[in-house]
């Protein structure tokens, strides 16, 4: 899949198909991961971004491959756009070698320096100030690069999110903050996390550009992100994007989410970002039933291959248990003692 040539032009037909395909990949990979969890074949719980595919894919699509990226646990799409392969992903889910953490950590905690990808930790939002530091490093060296990081509505309450957001705003550090407001943080509704009518107002409170966007509309998300990326790249500082959506599953695969009113989920079901985008693309003549089938087929094969590959990949040997706490260091020059 080739990435977009210029962020300043409207999305082409190819872009639209790319976006669609990545969203389908995200949905199908996560469905398979859930299934593997139920079969006791994963390491760790599985958390999905079901219903939030448009945010994850659309926002990341606005980045260059050398931009910094610090996603959270529901941002499968951002990983896919950055080029993380299903093989790596399933090795990671299944705790195998050939993955980022090889069973030492689990889930989407994938880091890769070559992809400028930060491995999140569960502690929210420890990776947000890290993304700000990536942006700072670009600013220091005068590089026209940008960092993007994601946070949930609940995560906006943490001190670490604040410290990162405020530091970025103060120095106009090139960062794009994508806040997936999916109405819930675990069992807690958004109105118990903040006192704002629109969470986008939080960004304004830091003096940074701030925008609310329909998080179920991948193109709206993309254009908002593209604008933010251009702004950051040109030294105009960070942006806070509130992408409004809904968490269409439990907090994790084991959570039946009894606390969410059924009607709420039903209403949002009609706004399913994948379905909506599919309908639009068909109406626009960019997608056909045939093409849809073909995409699904290719993805299924890709996933089958990845799961097989993961299953054939070795576990980390137990005798490596205590290795790698530190990076190896071969000593300073001119050591005196």
């Amino acid at each position: 899949m080739k990435t977009k040539t210029s962020i300043l032009e409207p999305l082409s037909a190819v872009d639209n198909l790319n976006l669609y395909t990545q969203m389908v990949r995200m949905r199908r990979i996560e469905e398979r991961a859930e299934q593997l969890f139920r079969e006791n074949r994963t390491v760790g719980r599985v958390y999905t971004g079901r219903g939030q595919e448009a945010i994850s894919v659309g926002a990341a699509y606005a980045l260059n491959p050398d931009d910094g990226l610090a996603p959270l646990y529901r941002e499968m799409g951002a990983h896919l756009v950055r080029g993380v392969t299903p093989r790596e992903i399933f090795c990671q889910y299944m705790g195998r070698k050939n993955s980022a953490t090889q069973g030492r950590d689990s889930g989407l905690h994938i880091g890769d320096p070559h992809r400028h990808l930060v491995s999140m930790i569960s502690s929210l939002t420890a990776s947000l100030p890290v993304a700000v530091g990536m942006g700072l490093s670009y600013q220091i060296r005068g590089q026209q690069r940008v960092a993007m990081t994601f946070l949930g509505d609940g995560a906006t309450s943490t001190g670490s999110a604040h410290e990162g957001l405020n530091f970025a705003a103060t120095r106009k550090i090139p960062v794009v903050f994508v806040c997936s407001n999916n109405q819930w943080s675990l069992s807690t509704p958004s109105h118990q996390q903040h006192g704002l009518a629109r969470l986008a107002g939080r960004g304004t409170g830091y003096g940074m550009a701030s925008v609310q966007v329909d998080g179920n509309d991948v193109r709206a998300v993309y254009y908002a992100a593209a604008e933010a990326v251009v702004r950051a790249r040109h030294g105009k500082g960070p942006t806070f994007i509130e992408a409004v959506t809904m968490r269409m599953a439990g907090h994790s695969v084991t959570d039946p989410a009894v606390y969410i009113p059924k009607t709420m989920t039903q209403q949002w079901q009609e706004k399913d970002p994948l379905h909506c985008f599919q309908t639009q693309l068909c109406a626009e003549g960019l997608l056909t039933a045939e093409k849809i089938e073909q995409i699904e087929l290719e993805i299924r094969e890709e996933i089958d291959d990845a799961v097989r590959f993961a299953e054939e990949s070795p576990l980390m040997p137990t005798d490596e248990l205590t290795t790698g706490v530190f990076a190896e260091f071969h000593g300073s020059t001119n050591a005196k003692n």
């Binding site: 390491v43 807690t188 576990l315 980390m316």
Partner: protein, 326 residues
């Protein structure tokens, strides 16, 4: 007597404390619907929105707010969703809450409950950020009492005491014991802080342990008793205050010590216990003081790694046998 689980014992104690004293309330993330381990299930319906308070995702707000409410006469019980997430509140807990009485002579009666330690299931462990046992940090911070109950009976009695205590108490629930059942009396009883429990008596050697490792150790010493090794098992119950005399007394009797805990080795609470014994029971020691702990690495997720990481019954048996042979 009824058999109830460790989880249920904690739940019942909170419930009874809230029934008995209007000043007691609880706050934390997601506790309205019952919390991730179900400790407060049903509380919201019974006690309502003013005594069961869903907070924002903000550990400093939780602990700081608990302190403010405590200063104004309430008896807050704060929940930190996982012990791993106590770090964002580190400043509030060690600098504000812990040092307050020493600086001002004003009491800060509050309890911070948090599920600690690893669980290992078919999906591996709870991983590097939902499995930690950070209690030793707080022992190195004056002004905080530290409780780590090893069974349902103790959990209840120690939690009652914690709620009554006019000082800040950190109450580290052991996730892997949540489902362990035992006889627990109904109604209110307190277990005093600073008194260890001799979980088993023996003359050959002493195992000093606490929390999640107590059942592991008891299982091991029971097996090993068949080989004629009689092990005394000390369950510390509270790390601060610490029952120094109780430890010394046992070592004076047995002369050999194994320390077992789930927390990382270096500067874990076992180091303090070893230091204490090597200073105050030196003359009675017949063997080196051994520590059996996980290595100094994060808790790995994959099942085989997590199992290699955590001390298990065989590890304890081996360590005891070695020490016994010494």
């Amino acid at each position: 007597m009824r058999k109830i689980s460790y989880r249920e014992a904690i739940r019942e104690t909170l419930w009874e404390a809230m029934e008995a004293d209007e000043r007691v309330f609880t706050l934390g993330q997601d506790i309205e619907y019952g919390g991730v381990y179900g400790i407060t299930r049903g509380f919201y319906d019974r006690f309502g929105p003013n005594r069961v308070i869903n907070t924002t995702l903000a550990e400093t707000a939780i602990t700081g707010a608990a302190m403010g409410a405590a200063l104004e006469g309430l008896r807050p019980i704060a929940e930190i969703q996982f012990a791993d997430f106590i770090t964002p509140a580190m400043d509030q807990i060690v600098n504000m809450i812990g040092k307050y009485h020493y600086r001002t002579h004003i009491p800060v009666p509050l309890v911070i409950r948090t599920p600690a330690g690893a669980i290992v299931t078919a999906h591996g462990s709870t991983g590097p950020l939902h499995s930690q046992s950070p209690e030793a940090w707080f022992a190195h911070a004056p002004g905080l009492k530290i409780v780590v109950p090893s069974n349902a009976f103790d959990a209840k009695g120690l939690l009652f005491t914690a709620i009554d205590d006019p000082n800040p108490v950190l109450f580290f629930e052991q996730k892997r014991l949540y489902n362990d059942k035992m006889d627990v009396p109904g109604g209110r009883y307190g277990i005093p802080f600073g008194q260890l429990r001799v979980a088993r008596t023996g003359l050959d050697l002493t195992v000093v342990t606490y929390g999640s490792m107590v059942p592991v150790v008891l299982n091991a010493v029971q097996q090993i008793a068949a080989h004629g090794i009689e092990t005394e098992v000390l369950d510390l119950r509270t790390l601060v205050p610490l029952d120094r005399q109780g430890i010394i007394k046992s070592v004076q009797k047995t002369g050999k010590v194994l320390i077992v805990h789930e927390a990382n080795r270096t500067c874990g609470f076992g180091a303090e216990v070893a230091a204490l014994i090597s200073e105050y029971a030196f003359e009675y020691l017949d063997a080196p003081i051994r520590r059996l702990t996980p290595p100094d690495i994060p808790v790995p997720s994959a099942r085989h790694l997590a199992e290699a990481y955590l001390p298990n019954v065989n590890d304890v048996i081996q360590a005891i046998q070695q020490l016994n042979r010494y």
